[in-house]
């Protein structure tokens, strides 16, 4: 058995001088970024599964679940939902402009998306403040606990999304996206739509169910 370990031999073992970096692509035909963001979204789904799942499980264990209309300001939030959906739509428009190579359009629609998102956060903050005034705190009862933890974490996602979009806006402003490559913008968009999607579900089960 040949187990004498060869000592270092400069001939074969020394690194070759100034070699280039070889970066291969093995498919599947999805950008790395997009592949990664979908993985990340999968984890986000599991995260909200944890929260929403807990809510459903706890709620089905209660004797009488209070009627949300008795506790929450549904009209305002319905309007807020509408705002978020609109911003999602504006996001798509800005993506399309980017695809068409229309930088002005990208900036305009993206800007409006950001405004929409910030507006949503604003309203939610207002809602929270009002609820605190009315003496509804996370600790008040299990309804409020679940309410605050779910909407709270969604809200924090919206904030992160807005920040991300703002960064994307500046990149677009510096002309960082071409009609051939606007992956960065697409990723931000995907995250934004996901946040929107989560809200659609939350709104239904928290405010209307």
């Amino acid at each position: 058995m040949s187990d004498a370990i060869a000592a270092f031999d400069p001939e074969v073992d020394a690194p070759r001088p100034h070699h280039p970096v070889y970066d291969y692509d093995s498919g599947p035909p999805v950008e790395r970024g997009k592949f990664a963001i979908w993985l990340f979204l999968a984890t986000e789904i599991m995260f909200f599964t944890g929260l929403i799942g807990a809510y459903v499980i706890l709620r089905t264990g209660t004797e009488s679940w209070p009627n949300p209309e008795k506790r929450l300001n549904v009209p305002i939030t319905a309007f807020n939902t509408f705002v978020l959906i609109t911003s999602s739509w504006l996001m798509v428009k800005s993506l399309f402009s980017a695809h068409a190579g229309d930088r002005g359009g990208t900036l305009k629609w993206l800007g409006l998306t950001i405004i929409g998102g910030s507006f949503f956060v604003g309203i939610q903050v207002y809602e929270y403040i009002e609820l605190f005034h009315l003496g509804a705190f996370p600790k008040t009862d299990i309804f409020w606990s679940t309410f605050y933890i779910m909407t709270g974490f969604h809200g924090s996602h919206v904030v992160i999304g807005v920040i991300w979009l703002i960064c994307a806006w500046f990149k677009a402003w510096r002309g960082g996206y071409s009609s051939r490559d606007y992956v960065g913008l697409e990723l931000a968009g995907l995250y934004w739509h996901f946040v929107d999607l989560v809200w659609v579900l939350l709104f239904t089960i928290v405010y209307l169910f």
């Binding site: 499980i57 706890l58 004797e63 005034h133 009315l134 739509h193 169910f209």
Partner: protein, 131 residues
């Protein structure tokens, strides 16, 4: 990335989303407190439609290959697994002293089952806020 074959009209999708949201809210407000099955059935239906539209068009799932789809495929299964295994234990447990959500009341030293004590009247925010 989306080449032109993958184009769709966002405005149409948006219109539908708008319609469904309106319908859903209306449904929720009118049928609130009435038969839960009807209420939830309708709401669930609308919510699902909206989610579906967003995922399939806005998030482009319709135009993605099997790769992306397979990345999120396990999540619905796991959702079912969690729900299926946990709820018999937690929500459907026969051995609970008090239903979930009941509260302890120090003054009477009793346990309240009914959460409606914490219901609040909107608009009267500030009088409530005083004391």
């Amino acid at each position: 990335m989306s080449d032109d074959s993958k184009h769709f009209s966002p405005d149409k999708v948006f219109l539908w989303l708008f319609v469904f949201t309106a319908a859903e809210v209306a449904w929720g407000m009118w049928l609130a407190g009435s038969n839960k099955l009807i209420l939830w059935g309708g709401l669930g239906f609308f919510a699902f439609l909206k989610g579906w539209l967003i995922a399939v068009y806005f998030m482009h799932l319709k135009f993605e290959g099997w790769v992306v789809k397979s990345l999120i495929l396990p999540t619905p299964l796991l959702v079912l697994v969690i729900w299926g295994y946990v709820s018999p234990d937690v929500s459907r447990s026969h051995h609970l002293d008090h239903p979930i959500g009941s509260m302890y009341n120090n003054d009477e030293g009793t346990v309240l089952h009914d959460m409606s004590v914490n219901d609040i009247e909107h608009g009267e925010a500030h009088e409530e806020g005083e004391h």
